[in-house]
Symmetry: C2
Amino acid sequence: MEVRAIDLAEKFDLFAEHWSPKIVGELNGQHVKLAKLQGEFVWHKHDNEDELFFVVKGTLVIEFRDKKLEIAPGQFVIVPKGVEHKPVAQEEVWVMLFEPASTLNTGDAGTSALTKEHLDKI
Amino acid sequence: MEVRAIDLAEKFDLFAEHWSPKIVGELNGQHVKLAKLQGEFVWHKHDNEDELFFVVKGTLVIEFRDKKLEIAPGQFVIVPKGVEHKPVAQEEVWVMLFEPASTLNTGDAGTSALTKEHLDKI
């Protein structure tokens, strides 16, 4: 694979759907993904994967069973494996995700219209 | 470990040294590190680790044996394991790194004044 600079803004311009992560990089068995979020996602956890959300645009809220975090642009949060969470985006939020290639977006919540089993590489 | 939002700007304010990565997150055996770079680093490669450089401020140049890449803020590059590279920062550059916890900054170049065997967590 050719080594090249990946421009986040350019990649974000390539898609509009919400809750549909796109793969923009792969390293050490991990994926770098970009996603646009709007509205409320489902409560779920990942039994085997820690998950990093880095916010590029907008303010992401992640609800936990015991608290709620606001993540602004230039901030990230790491959700450890096994921890239930629900991402909420009142307005559109753009995030960069860093997580193992095995990570399913809806985790243990079961398959639904939100579940993306096959992610596009862009 | 408490789940919380990590602010890059706040973390960058905590140190000034160049070529001395600080650990700001850990997930799935990988580290998230911040570093300030200025000047020329040494040619090296990592035999077992792919390495991601995400540029936060300034323009990073990474020289390869066959080309030179410029990485601007909002862009990242993944340097695959085994690929020789030399980071160069004409002016100060701030980067976020994603790489396995086992990664030594000078790779196979041998121990020198630039080598950081023990990284601070900030």
